[in-house]
Structures are given as C-alpha cells and as structure tokens.
Amino acid sequence: MGKGAFLGATSIFALMCALYASTGMAQELSPAQAGDLEGVIDSGDNAWILASSALVLIMTPGLALFYGGMAGTKNMVNTMWMSFIVICTVSIQWVLWGYSLSFAEGNWFIGGFEWVALQGVGQEATGTIPHLTFMIFQCMFAIITLALVSGAVVERMKFSAWLLLIPLWTTAVYAPICHWVWGPGGWLGGIGALDFAGGTVVHITSGASALILCLFLGARKGYPKSVHPPHNIPFTMLGAALLWVGWFGFNAGSELAADGIAASAFVVTNTATACAGFTWSVLDWAHSGRPTLVGACSGAVAGLVAITPASGFVGPMGSIAIGVGAGLVCYYGSVYMKKALGYDDALDVVGIHALGGSWGAFATGIFAQLSVNPGGADGAIYGNPYQLIPQSIGIAASWAWACGITAILALIIKYTVGLKASAADETAGMDISQHKEIAYSHET
C-alpha cells in the first residue's frame, strides 16, 4: 500500500542524507552561532528581542483563531486547544531538554546535554543579548512550529494522540533540524544553506509532518463532500492579523539585534506578505468570481511563510517576487494539488507551509544579496547560482527527516493511544467528545 512505500522511501532518503552529510560535511562545521558567550548586553538589542519574543508568542493564539475560525462550530474549542496545549507543553519541554538538544554544542546532527534544564544558561551575553533572551526567543519558534501542524489534522485527531505527539515530535523532528540549520556545528548551516528565520526549520518541517499525519489519519467523514465554510470569518481575520504582526518579531527578531538588517527583514516581511495576499485575492477573483477575505488572509500567511527564510537576505524587490510567487504556489497547492492528490489536509498546512516554505527556501537562493546582509550570500540573479545547491539540499533534507520521523511517531501513537477519534466522536464534534466543552452557549 502507498503509505508504507512512501514511508519507506522517505526514511531511506533521510538516512542517505544523514550519511552523506556525516561524511561530506562534517569538516566544514561553521563556528557556533548561538553558543559564543562573550560580549556585553546592548539594551536596545535586548529590548527588541524581548519584544520580538512576545510578538512570536502571540502568533500561536493567533493561529488558534485563524484555524478555529475555519473549523466547524462543533470543533472550535478542540482546534484552539491543539494550539494552546502546544504552548503549555513545549514551553516546558524546551526549558528541560529541547533547547539543549537544539542549540548546545554537540555534533553535526544534534546538540548536547550541556544546557539541560537550562544549567549554564543565564543572564550573560550571547552576542549582544542575554543568553536567556535567545533561549526564550527560540522557545517561541519551537511552539509555533508544532502548532502549525494542527491545522491539517483538526476535526478528527484524538486529543490524547496530539498530546503524546507534542514532546515526541519536538524532540525527534524539530530539535535535530533546528540544530542542523542554526545549532553550533549543524551540517546544513555548515554547507552554507541560508535560512534566516525558519523556512526549513519551521515551515517545511511542519508542512511535511502535516502531510504524513493526514495520510495516517485518513479523511474526515464524508470528505470531500462534507467540506464546510469557515464558521467564523472574523476570528480567521483576527488570527491572520496577529500572525502578521507577530511575524515581525519572528523575522526581524531573528537578526538578534535592532540594527539595519532587522529593519530590512521587517520591510521585506511586510512587502512579501502584502504581495501574496494581493495575489491570492486576484486568483480568487479569477477562479471563483469574487475575491474572498479568507483568501486574502491565506495568501498573507503564504507570503509570511515564504519570506521567512529569505527575510534577512533579500531586498524589497526580491520580496515582491517571493510574495507573488508564494501567492501562486500556495493557491494552486491548496486548491488544485490537494484535490488532485486527494488527501484531507483540513486547513491546508501542506499547501501553505510545506509548499510556501519550500518556495521560500529555494527563492532565497535566487534573490539573496550580499549587499543586504554581508553574513549571507548572493543568489542566482546576483551571479551565484551555486547558492541553489545548499538551498535545495536543505529543502530535501528537511522534507525527508520530517516525513520519515513523523511517520514513525504516527505509527507509535496509532498502536498505543490511537490516532483518530471514533466516528461517533467526530460526528458529535471534537469539542464535546474530547473536552466536554461547547464553544458558544448563547442560551445562557
């Protein structure tokens, strides 16, 4: 059956990548990015990264509303809960071991145990901000990444299964890929793959894992005939707005300083987002006869996703190209590809995050400019087509690892607590069946 084969293939690919990396790239380890504990704290930089951390935290409840508004009324609480429980759980996991595995000195593949339980992670400067500031900023990234996955599996995944997935996934999928890209000695960073704020680490991992979970879960009852319109568009709009504004912290905060590159990242984030939102609206108008607000919000999120890896490396004109591209790629991915392939990705996490993240990571290799960020590289249109190689390796490796490991985790959960709610629970609604709660009780 296709599922098994797919799983096998991706696992093998992941293994190959890992082997290749361990032989071919181990000697090229970049100097530790997060680990150099020197320098003094700059209050302006620290102010910006603390504010950015708050901004990134608000993204996850924003996501809860963005997703929840599109879910059905009887699944609203559960949909929001899936995001909210990630905040509560990953915040603890990250402090206890997640941060250490991701960012402590280790090998090319994974971090060490030095910073377990934040031992040795204190107020001293890392670059120009306290080490704790860097730690908590990264914590918010780990939170939102898994929360993104939930959009694909809402309306049918058991809450206990989701709860079990959280620490497993964050440990086995997120931490390694995060270390590869941003950790000291990580191999993807080592080969020069550029990912400013998480196109691979955040969006490909979440989107690819979402795809695997969709395949293991199967579709909702009656899909695709039973597809319903969003139950509350204002919540979806508000959620998209909170994502947009929080994303300034996500991207511009990833500079870890309040400098010119942060300003540039802020500008291209806004520009690409606007372009993608606008593009999706135009496509909606063309294909459905009317521009929809949910479409514009979806497009905006697609733009945010795509500009993420590029945000510290490209200029405004590059960001327009990336944004328009994101609108195109994610629109057709969410509308046509999903239909063609037939999986039930409830809220289009694959179409928007996996595809948008891949496009963004690739496009970084096209539009990056050394003149924007001397710590980056020139991209293809600035005469360096070779940058597309590490970018492509980064994309492929993230897909492979996320798919392979998520498949294993899904199997484990399937045969322990079970993945999918019973048909009766699904029909009654996940809110009452999983939580004994009802989103709206207007009779009271």
């Binding site: 597809v227 319109p229 909606d284 459905s288 006869g289 929809t292 479409g295 969410s334 509308v335 046509y336």
Partner: protein, 113 residues
C-alpha cells in the same frame, strides 16, 4: 381560532410587522428559519471550493387569531411581504383548538387579544 403561519423574507419583517400593527393584530411570534422552494440557493467560496448553500434565511411569523380576522391578516401579509420575485414565501392557515394566556389562565378569544 386559527393559526396563520407565514414564511417571509428577512428584509420584509419590519414592513409586515407594521402592517399587522395597523390592523391591530393581537400579537405575534417570530422564528428565524431557513427555507427552500422554487428559489435557488447561493454559493459560498472557500479556498477555491464552491460550497452551495441551498437553504436561505427566512423568517416565520405565527399569529393566532379569531377566525374572522384571518382574511384581513393574510391580506396584510401578502400586501407587504410581496416583491414579485421567487422566494417571497408562503402562508399556511390551520386550526387551533384552544388558547390559554399563561399570565391569567384566561382561555379562548380573550386570551389572544
């Protein structure tokens, strides 16, 4: 005693209500309903997918009144509820055996006034 039940357009509620007030109807009860008949539905769009909504919002008015007032009431509803386009709705008349006013326990015609 009769019950006059009318399914009308949402936007016509105020006009019909006013017309009934003019003929001094005794009271009425309104329910939000959705309906479907000759009139076709509307189409919503979500992420490129068309979703047909074949039940349209309507309003149901229920008026219980003495038999003699029924024709006046029907006339008022038709007069004010009509646009001439499909979807204007229907009126159903049925028989009520007994009426009680909860506040007083009064029964019959006195109870509806």
């Amino acid at each position: 005693m009769k019950k006059v039940e009318a399914i009308i357009r949402v936007g016509k509620l105020n006009a019909v209500k006013a017309a009934l007030e003019e003929i001094k109807h005794p009271g009425l009860t309104v329910t939000n309903v959705r309906g479907h008949g000759v009139q076709k539905g509307i189409t919503e769009t979500w992420r490129g997918k068309s979703i047909k909504i074949d039940l349209l919002d309507k309003v149901k008015i229920e008026i219980v009144s003495p038999d003699k007032d029924v024709s006046k009431i029907i006339a008022a509803i038709v007069e004010e509820g009509k646009t001439g386009n499909v979807g204007d709705g229907k009126i159903f008349v049925s028989t009520v055996d007994e009426v009680v006013r909860i506040r007083t326990g009064e029964k019959g015609e006195k109870a509806v006034s």
